[in-house]
Amino acid sequence: MNRRHEARIGILFALPWILGFTLLLAYPLVFSLITSFTNFSVLREPKWIGLSNYQELMRDGVFLTTLQNTLLYTVGAVPLGTVLAIALAMLLNAKVKGMAVYRTLLFLPTLVPMVAQATLFLWVFNGDYGLLNAALRGIGFSPPNWLGDPAWAKWTLVLIAAWGCGQAMLIYLAGLQDVPANLYEAADLDGAKSWLKTRHITLPMISPVILFNVIMAIIGSIQVFAVPQVMFPGGAPARSTYMFAMYLYDNAFLYQRMGYASAMGWVMFLIILALTLAALRLSERHVHYETQ
């Protein structure tokens, strides 16, 4: 069999992916980039307007509000989710009887569909009869109105984000199980206590996993949509929970401003790219690879 024939067979097998990538990813990407420079309302021919959509974004107060909301959400949700996932993974890495059951139970929330999750949390966080406030009142606190108070609503979403940390927890657990036991044995011989072992062995050894999870969490947080859309339609109260992706969706499908929504999509991409690059840059001094 000659090389040309081999190449043909190779291309044939790769064809489904090539077609899928071209039609479902590359074409929409290029189309949305072009659309972002147009006035396009689906039923009319797109009209080229240059940078107008991007210029309008800079003046759009609601866009800036959604950007601020999303970044605040990210600043809250990513560290909280990361710390919680690492802590749970460490607990699940302990050698205790019935560990498989604990692991399953802690991973289960991740399998709950987002809309069901949002509906569930509407009950949990209800200011009047919610489970959380009932518990807080029971121990003498005067709890806030999580869903109705603009000062608290955004942070309610941050707390809910922690519910979905099971996926990251599982990856951290795999990372923890890859840490060589001889490092801990050496530390034990040196008389190191638990915290020192965590600080100087566990965290450095799983730092590549932390970096991966943090980047994925940043991307997920910037794109957050389903839970706030169900729990806080229109970003209520007073747009305090109006997220970037919700405003993008409203512009595309409620106001039929596809060009403007495409411009928002590309700004979102640039923000994610910048934050990812920043995370990679910051990680250079803190992430330890075994091959180094």
Binding site: M1, R3, E56, R59, D128, D149, A238, Q256
Partner: protein, 446 residues
């Protein structure tokens, strides 16, 4: 290095054969799979409707009756979620339904996008004119000589009252307060708060159920499109929002938020009106349906929303809304689609559908039997409200959803005490001015 892969060749031939079979099969069966024709020998009209559940079933009965009534057209009825967005996208793709059931608020937005077929000629030929309808319902769907939609079921909105929660002297429709000032005094008198300030029962709350924040300004006489330009901070609207802020101040913004967060869904026995957390509630003609299902023994009556004392000319105020039928632009069976729409407009069909949905009729002529057999005991009031000169409907502008959204946001800012009414409305106006400019440049029809 040349690697010999003798076993790959037959597989590749098999793969090519399978791909060819699928391609050929798809080409042969494709037309049949996507074909709209549901009944041989009849023209098939595809009808997308938003309704599900009982409302959807009642419309299905109408469709079945139409299909039985003649042998030329078959209406294929599909209950679809997100019907508005899907209709737009399907129109963009060149394959829209022949009839779509959308909301009145969207009609001019669709029209501005060029998504609708003008029904005026077909309606005229079918004898359906402005005189056929209660004027406000027809006017809400037309502009000049152009008619964009016809109603499926309409609604009007009134103040629902629990006689057991108001003093006996106000416990009848005849003696209930007629002015906003009297309503405020009554609400202050009967509302109950705990010593810690938490609300137990509110006489009236502007934020409940919170569906028509665009309507507060017009309640005080505002025109939201004064001179054709969106006007959100006119003196009447500022006055309306000051009235709203008064309720927030009276109870405390925090107390109102906490109280409202305990309200159950309107379609449940935990609805605040049904379980006695509010004594009065502004709601539509459909409210009786839910009361019948979830609290059939509840005593209630309805009255027109009170008017400002110094504006008796605004007496009989009501907000109108409609579910409507449109023919999307590019529909392949527009003529046949209109035959179905005209069938729905027949007095017997319309009264049957509206009665089954618990709503008033949009038609000018209403039979006495409709009133007598209607499940809502206050149906005559809702019919009168629809005929009132002070009945208003969402503005005939594709920009209306933006105006409504900005007013809803301003309402929340005022109700939560974040901004003063003037500040919230001025901010909303500033934002709407920019959006209006862009809308006129990019979307609005010439």
């Amino acid at each position: 290095m040349n690697v010999d892969l003798p076993s790959v060749q037959p597989h590749s031939k098999l793969a090519i054969f399978v791909v060819l079979i699928f391609t050929f099969g798809a080409a042969m069966l494709g037309e049949r799979v996507v074909s709209r024709d549901a009944s041989p020998g009849r023209v098939t009209v595809v009808y997308w409707e938003k309704w599900t559940g009982q409302e959807g079933e009642e419309m299905r009965k109408v469709v079945d009756a139409f299909n039985r009534s003649q042998d030329r057209i078959f209406v294929k009825y599909l209950s679809i979620s997100g019907v508005d967005q899907k209709t737009i996208l399907a129109s963009g793709g060149g394959n829209p339904p022949d009839v779509a059931g959308i909301w009145q608020e969207q009609v001019f937005q669709f029209a501005d996008l060029g998504a609708l077929t003008d029904l005026s000629d077909m309606a005229r030929q079918a004898g359906l004119t402005r005189e056929t309808y209660i004027p406000a319902y027809y006017d809400a769907l037309s502009e000049g000589d152009t008619l964009w939609a016809l109603p499926s079921t309409p609604a009007s909105i009134g103040l629902h009252v629990r006689p057991d929660l108001v003093p006996p002297e106000f416990a009848t429709p005849e003696t209930f307060p007629e002015t906003i000032e009297e309503l405020d005094a009554l609400s202050e008198r009967i509302s109950k708060q705990n010593p810690d300030g938490s609300l137990v029962m509110a006489g009236f709350l502007p934020s409940n159920p919170g569906w028509w924040h665009w309507g507060w300004g017009p309640l005080f006489g505002a025109d939201l499109f004064e001179g054709g330009k969106p006007t959100l901070n006119g003196p009447e609207t500022v006055r309306a929002f000051e009235w709203i802020a008064g309720y927030s101040k009276q109870f405390g913004p925090q107390a109102v938020q906490n109280f409202q967060s305990g309200f159950g869904n309107f379609a449940s026995p935990q609805d605040p009106f049904m379980n006695g957390k509010v004594a009065t509630e502004l709601n539509g003609v459909w409210k009786a349906n839910y009361i019948r299902v979830y609290k059939p023994d509840l005593e209630w009556f309805a009255v027109p929303m009170p008017y400002p004392k110094d504006r008796p000319d605004l007496r009989g105020h009501s907000l109108l809304s409609q579910d409507v039928l449109v023919i999307p632009r590019g529909a392949k069976r527009a003529k046949e689609a209109f035959e179905f729409i005209a069938f729905v407009q027949r007095q017997d069909v319309m009264e049957g559908l509206c009665s089954a949905h618990g709503k008033n009729s949009p038609l000018n002529n209403v039979s006495e039997a409709f009133f007598e057999n209607h499940p809502n005991k206050a149906i005559r009031l809702f019919d009168q409200l629809a005929r009132s000169p002070n009945a208003i409907y969402p503005s005939r502008s594709g920009f209306f959803p933006r105006v409504s959204g900005e007013l809803a946001n301003a309402f929340q800012e005022v109700n939560t005490g974040m901004k003063t009414p003037k500040q919230a409305l001025d901010d909303a106006q500033a934002r709407i001015d920019g959006l209006w400019k862009t809308y006129r440049e990019q979307v609005a029809r010439p």
